[in-house]
Symmetry: D2
Subunit: 314 residues, 4 copies
Amino acid sequence: MMTALDSPPLGLILADIVRSHRPRSEAGSIPAGIPHLASPPFDRFGIAVATTSGDVFSAGDADLPFSIQSISKVFTLAMALGADDPGTLWSRVLREPSGTSFNSLVQLEVEHGIPRNPFINSGALVVTDHLTERFPDAAGHVLQFLRDQAGPHGGRQGPFIDEAAAKSELANSSRNLALAHFLKDFGNLHRPAEAVVENYVRQCSIMMSCVEVAKAGLFLARGGRGTNGTVLSRSEAKRIGSIMLTCGMYDAAGEFAYRVGLPGKSGVGGGILVVVPGECSICVWSPRLDSKGNSLAGTAALADLSDRTGWSVF
Amino acid sequence: MMTALDSPPLGLILADIVRSHRPRSEAGSIPAGIPHLASPPFDRFGIAVATTSGDVFSAGDADLPFSIQSISKVFTLAMALGADDPGTLWSRVLREPSGTSFNSLVQLEVEHGIPRNPFINSGALVVTDHLTERFPDAAGHVLQFLRDQAGPHGGRQGPFIDEAAAKSELANSSRNLALAHFLKDFGNLHRPAEAVVENYVRQCSIMMSCVEVAKAGLFLARGGRGTNGTVLSRSEAKRIGSIMLTCGMYDAAGEFAYRVGLPGKSGVGGGILVVVPGECSICVWSPRLDSKGNSLAGTAALADLSDRTGWSVF
Amino acid sequence: MMTALDSPPLGLILADIVRSHRPRSEAGSIPAGIPHLASPPFDRFGIAVATTSGDVFSAGDADLPFSIQSISKVFTLAMALGADDPGTLWSRVLREPSGTSFNSLVQLEVEHGIPRNPFINSGALVVTDHLTERFPDAAGHVLQFLRDQAGPHGGRQGPFIDEAAAKSELANSSRNLALAHFLKDFGNLHRPAEAVVENYVRQCSIMMSCVEVAKAGLFLARGGRGTNGTVLSRSEAKRIGSIMLTCGMYDAAGEFAYRVGLPGKSGVGGGILVVVPGECSICVWSPRLDSKGNSLAGTAALADLSDRTGWSVF
Amino acid sequence: MMTALDSPPLGLILADIVRSHRPRSEAGSIPAGIPHLASPPFDRFGIAVATTSGDVFSAGDADLPFSIQSISKVFTLAMALGADDPGTLWSRVLREPSGTSFNSLVQLEVEHGIPRNPFINSGALVVTDHLTERFPDAAGHVLQFLRDQAGPHGGRQGPFIDEAAAKSELANSSRNLALAHFLKDFGNLHRPAEAVVENYVRQCSIMMSCVEVAKAGLFLARGGRGTNGTVLSRSEAKRIGSIMLTCGMYDAAGEFAYRVGLPGKSGVGGGILVVVPGECSICVWSPRLDSKGNSLAGTAALADLSDRTGWSVF
């Protein structure tokens, strides 16, 4: 349940969280097989909170751009639902937790080509395929949305695609190509496998700062209303929140629901987007990961923040 | 997020929900292989709400006892955690959604004998085993707790074990015996398999009314504080809520999270217990089930109630 | 155990087998998703036996070319082993029965990219990849081998690739492309996935008659010695025979071992190649299939032939 | 293919095989969780051959009794088939290789309670159940058969059940009890799970020497004719041979088919029974096991013997 924010004010809390959680050693791991994610210094740590009342608080490396990776799945899903004939997308992907690895082909075979949810890779490919049918440059469409939501950037660059990183990841996309061809074999991919995987990889290669991600995710805390108007119906925004809570943290959704108690979506770039319904959108970033692929320091910081503010849906 | 209750008052809403959702035909199914659950008339429907402020509202067949079946897993888990050396139980069972059938042996084999969560059958057997180590009559211990929570009953009987039903289910417990022996093979069952399954079956055969279940579950809406004192720490109550939300509705947890947006636990007897953190505990009952094993009319009624009251964690 | 052939002579036996087993109705099925295999009349039936003493007996439609499909896997394996640095191929593919569907991705994931045997699709792709490393036109290389083994053809065409059929199958190769990319993800595919699948599809589209297949397979009955010299060592020929017996008939290897008792390899084109070690090589063809994907009439005919001749390894 | 035995005579070959293969170190492993199998000295090694012409050759520790363990599955299957209404047993268990661990519950769940073959544990439990329906003391019935087949023993004891070992194994039978209850849940176990597992464990605890096992298995090399008359039809004997070849060596059936080329059945007691159809029955024993659970020295010795004698079905 939500509680009002008392003293100390949020800015001070965030500054203190950075002090407590900025990594002091190379604990945790870096994602295997993604060369351009191997480089960030272990001690990067940023956090930003965008409130429904229009304020933005941040601390640490909150203005450094990082690779949003799977956090993009939240935004692509929102885009696809916004462009959807009602119910079309939900006939192609389920909304249930998977209980298996995020890039497993096993469950896809057992379920005859219907991915368990939009946040495992096979499900995200279906979502991207769906969006690509309407917008051939799906990744560019997502990018434009993120720029619109993140708003004016002063001297900053705003969200952009790291094209070199995308190219490098595309050259190592065998697993995703396998998933895409497998979906196609089941009749659940409409565009060519290569085109869908390319859009998928490019959307994952979008670079954003914590501040930008928090601002871009704010529509989920506001029942679907974005910076410049309605992004989604309240019902679909609620749907995305429930999928984030049950499926957003790879195979640690249950643990995250307990420790943090909020809908979240992580990426192997070390970012996590969290939604406090009606209150705010939060983004934390620190590059090194725990054994489940979620930011080690980021998860700890969010648990701490939840304890300090009382933000939790339970 | 929670909203204050405006008019119409809750009692009128519940009465209207009974009018709208009491089944008019034999839609849905009855559970296979449980003889004593084959009998209830299809048009039974009851609902009760126990609020944190001490009120109880109800409508329909809210005072008829029904077999709580898997709803008992919530209470047994609470009892086991209350009697736990910190962390002991959580080393024997995970807290993640399973993605497979509630009584599957497959995932248990893949996970080397550690059940995915306390609400699939293998996990519930571990919880019962844990409780049985402390209280050999574990089912009786759970029953006593439920009687204490449900409070004085006027002329009513209060929670009781349907011993004939328990005996009948025990004679058809091959799958649960297989799970129990399998757990034992992995070293994750301490008491004899037969004793654990007997306690498990007896706790599932507890008969309660909607009013009694709602009152018994109220401690989960009050951060662990029960009728006669603390049942659990706030942290453990939150834990149970998060497990209910991610794992409480068999393979429809994601769908329920979207449609109802509240932590819930269903049983094949047709009951569902739902928690609105800080507000109230709800029990709905109607015997016929959907394809996932959850009460057909009960789920629809809860979605309706959530829409009318705004009760939702998202 | 092998017994000498008594009267009646083999030619008469084969003619009688054609009379008994040529289909009289459209029993059985045709393979799904391969347009050019949907056409053959249901009553096609041919059988040929090539003996180690140099004779060839045949009856029925034994000179009609048909699509050899997965029978090609035997020859590609022989080619790959012949061109192999000792042991290289066997580090990339196992020799054990699979117990799952021939084109399943599940076991491949469980076994971390090492296919169970060379006759399931994933294993055959690894074999083709191996051969393609040495011979970029692997399918052409296999075709040339088959022409050499099948010998002069009088007025007949000899083995050839049905290029239209290959093109059509290639356009429906999503499952095989998924398997190939999946193998690549595990580092167990060296050439580009598309090139390997193309060679694989083209080798499957080779057209041969029963007489040609029987002659081409004779080296397996002669300890590796082919028409024009040694194809394989005796040890590798024995290896292929044992793999045929344990893995050659999709998920009916055990049943075939019992009913026929001989190493065999079937294709969805309706052909089956069988080896009687030291005695002869047999090919039967009839297009309609049983539920496991093996020729319905062909399997029955081979069981009959085994009973009449005593040919069996058991 | 079979070749005649030339010089050196078989007795000398066996003596030489003992010299070459008797273990000189503690290579290999002992079975986990079976206390009474942890004790045999690593350098025990025996071999015996019983020919269809009535001779018995042996060398090494061929008269020392050892625990036959899963070799018993061959004899129980023969007994069950001998007592079977035609086809009854084969409606309850398949004849296909499994591709998964011998005591896995996964495939049983996927196949809805029909074990893949009679030599994985679930299949053997069905066979024992089938036999127990006719002979409540099924293990005693199998023992009597083995005594009859092994013939007069001079001063030796003949086959016997190690009751202390059986009792110890029975106390560690959780996995088999899980399998039995699981089968019962699918309706594929007719007698009580506990009774079936007890018979199963007792038949596995039969102690026999290499000479006795070779003599007892001779009916399989003679088309079903045993010491005192017909045990099985020729057809059923051939069936058992084909199941041994495809499923007899746990997850190394394919490798064994290649290296040895003969139908075999191993036990974790270190024994292996091999059949040369029409020629002889062989038993080798050496207690330490390879990673698949088959006798390390025994498998090597059989490969050597196959090379020296030309005994192979391929």
